[in-house]
Subunit: 348 residues, 2 copies
Amino acid sequence: MDSLEYQEGRTELDTLGIFALVDRLSDGFERHHDTTVKGVGDDCAVLGTSPVKTLVTVNTLAEGVHFDMMYTPLKHLGYKAVAVSVSNIVAMNGRPKQIEVSIAVSNRYSLEALEELYAGIRLCCDRYDIDLVGGDTVSSRSGMVITVTAIGEVDEDKITYRTGAKLHDLVCVSGDLGSAYSGLLILEREKVTYQANPDFQPDLDSYDYVLERFLKPEPRIDIVQKLSDAGVVPTSMIDVSDGLASDLLHICQSSHCGCEVYEEHIPIDYQTTRVCSEMSNNMLPVSNALNGGGDYELLFTIDQKDYEKVKDMEGVHIIGHITEEGMPAVMVTPQNTTITLVAQGYRN
Amino acid sequence: MDSLEYQEGRTELDTLGIFALVDRLSDGFERHHDTTVKGVGDDCAVLGTSPVKTLVTVNTLAEGVHFDMMYTPLKHLGYKAVAVSVSNIVAMNGRPKQIEVSIAVSNRYSLEALEELYAGIRLCCDRYDIDLVGGDTVSSRSGMVITVTAIGEVDEDKITYRTGAKLHDLVCVSGDLGSAYSGLLILEREKVTYQANPDFQPDLDSYDYVLERFLKPEPRIDIVQKLSDAGVVPTSMIDVSDGLASDLLHICQSSHCGCEVYEEHIPIDYQTTRVCSEMSNNMLPVSNALNGGGDYELLFTIDQKDYEKVKDMEGVHIIGHITEEGMPAVMVTPQNTTITLVAQGYRN
């Protein structure tokens, strides 16, 4: 009866980009309700008829793919699961309000383990004023899968879709990029060492920043607040979950434009640079920024008229500008070489 | 580093009831927003400040626990995943509007398999006028886990919580009970036969009703509509996902009351009775109704004044009445024996 693995004309999932997969799967669905303002295709769905819209988003983390129990404290995992969903609300210029948490978990986990996970969920909820309003806890045959549904609000005239970037807009990013992936590289390196020699005690102190960036990312609600205080509504916005390259391409494809960003303006922390220098393959820090992902910083575009308001805003970096439709998304190096940005394949 | 399996003072998850687990995990979370009308503890969260409230619920189905790929057509699985979440919206007397679908899936599945799953999701969406507005598709190391977030609306004065049942209210249930579990029993029996002899072609035709009840349950939106047309607002309501016994106890515990239901009034289909008679352990059909679960019928209470409006309503059965606080939840047999109902343990 089960013929999953022996189909004729089978198309492997990993041959598809994430864009193609989501587009193809949700293709042909009709819209039945006026209250569905925006469905598939952005960081959140936008719902409702009143001037204050409801935002809804779901994000799933799977054991062995998004987290490895060898080096992921459960409390951090709970925190992160909330943070990544909340980050999607923030990326629509919204205010997170509630979450529901669904967990599929094997008997390998004890009640105490789940309580530790929930301690992290609670920490993130308390930090960002979010109410836990429901969820589902089910058995699974192996590992843990956590899905967090986040619900938020946004004023109609302040919604920032991926679609609004226009010619000459400035491209901005918050914080620094590539540090989360650098943290992951360190954890993977220490895991290999530990597996070879279980008496080995990893020294992780000097990597504290990149480790925290990977294990316990923060949604940049503070940046959205600063923009609001300055009277700036970005023309488009997304959170950097897949890496700068993929997420810039999301904006360019959705907004029908190209862009030019300058390598020297891409914010990279010194610990990221140090981690790259330690890796045997002489990794370039900018590669981590472009392709690493998991930073959950905000990538957004602003109208040139808002330049003065943003140029000295703490934690915000102007890294380039939007070019016209038909132009590629490129990075310009300090040597004035132009590199066309390419999306990484199937996102995990 | 990983010490999940070797903790001191470890409490196994399967020693806990589902009530205890959810209560314990969400204990100590504070409410930050007035828009959170109702959080954990009912079929849905109730959100918003306007007279039309937003309902949100999540439900997760895990491979090997809730479905077995040996006998679950992917199209049915997609349909069911939507139906069970929508059923929670209906159980609050609400109208389903939107869903988001999150899938963790291993490379064992092809694009074509996911398309088949989405064909079922679409069928259910089209049937019940629901918009697919988002989701997440991630890799998993093994099997498939599907989480559906459903969003709906309900007029403030028509919300039916589990908490509203009061002394002398009548206990009602829609459709029939125990058939979904009977379908599962047949599928499990045929699976064993097939594994022993792969040339065996199962004859499932005469079990069509119970199989469909298990594989493709329907949310009872029609019943909620009939109640609305008749001007009846149930005093409490829940959908029968865990079996009549557990779900009656949910209502009794939430409403601080007891109840008495009559075995002879519990609706049971003849196919359910036939399946039970075929099973080697002489299973009682009423056991399937009480403990089988998965029927997704509506269990609700109504004020006695609404008796005339409900007594001849097609698809609705009055099975008992609410007794006072401190009394147990019991079933009275045709021989006038009283059996105290017990919740089944940890719900999968």
